[in-house]
Assembly symmetry: C2
Homo-oligomer: 110 residues x 2
DNA sequence: ATTATATAGAACCATATGGTGTTATGTCAA
DNA sequence: TTGACATAACACCATATGGTTCTATATAAT
C-alpha cells in the first residue's frame, strides 16, 4: 500500500477518539507500536489498525528501525480541516457578535 | 430526545460527507427537510437521519413551522474542533518553517 | 543455534452506520 | 371534508468499523 495516497479522509481519520489519542501521543514523541500500545486498553492489533487508517490519511508515517517500527506525526493533512472550519467561523462569530449586542442593549435599557 | 444534550461527538458528526454538505446548505439558507432532500440522491429518510445526528451534535436545530420543519445551522460546537486543531497547528507550522529555511539555504548556496 | 522480542497478517465477530421502503400522523387548501 | 403535502416512525438490510485471537516472519541477544 502506498502511504502517500490519501485513501482515507482526514475527517474520517480524526473521528475516532482512540486515533485522536494516538495523534496526541505521537505529538509528544515519536514511538514504536509497542510503546504506543502500552497506553491503550485495546490489543496491539487494534492499535495497528488505527495506525493504518492514520497512515492512509497521511497523518502519521511509520519507519522501520531494526525490529521496531517507529511512528511519527505528520500533521499537514489537518490543514484541510482547518480550511473547512475557516468557512464556518464567520457564522459563529456573527452569532456571538449579535449576542454581545443584545446583552449590551439590555444593559443600556435598564 | 433532548436536542440540547450533545449525545454525538462533533468529530463524528462532521466525519460524513453528506452531513458536511447538509451543513454547507444550511449555512447558505435555513430550509425545510423537503428542500434539503432535493439536493441529495439519497432518500428523504436518510437525510432525516443525518439531521438527527447533526441535531444530537448540536450543529443544527429544527423548528416546526406549520407542516414543515425548518432546519437552522448552529455552528458553535465547531469551536471544539477549532480548539483541538489549534494544538496541532504549531507542529505543522514548525515543519513549514523548517522547509522554508532549507529552501532559502539552498538558494543562498547556489 | 536458540530463544525472546517486535511487527505483520489472516480469520473471525458483534455492533454501528448509512441506506432502503412502508405505514402512520398532522396540517393546509380546495 | 376530502385530498394533497410534509414529516414522523417503524422494520429491515448490507456493509463498514473496531475489536478479538492465533499464526508467521524478521531481528536481536544469549
Amino acid at each position: 500500500m502506498n502511504a502517500e495516497a490519501h485513501k482515507v479522509d482526514v475527517f474520517q481519520a480524526v473521528a475516532d477518539p482512540t486515533r485522536r489519542e494516538v495523534l496526541q501521543l505521537l505529538s509528544e514523541s515519536s514511538q514504536s507500536i509497542a510503546e504506543l500500545s502500552s497506553h491503550f486498553d485495546v490489543s496491539r492489533t487494534a492499535v495497528v489498525k488505527h495506525l493504518n487508517v492514520l497512515t492512509k490519511a497521511g497523518l502519521v508515517r511509520g519507519e522501520k528501525n531494526g525490529r521496531e517500527k517507529i511512528y511519527y506525526l505528520q500533521p499537514e493533512p489537518l490543514q484541510e480541516l482547518k480550511d473547512w472550519l475557516a468557512y464556518y467561523e464567520k457564522f459563529w462569530y456573527n452569532k456571538l457578535a449579535k449576542l454581545k449586542y443584545a446583552v449590551e442593549n439590555d444593559t443600556l435599557n435598564k
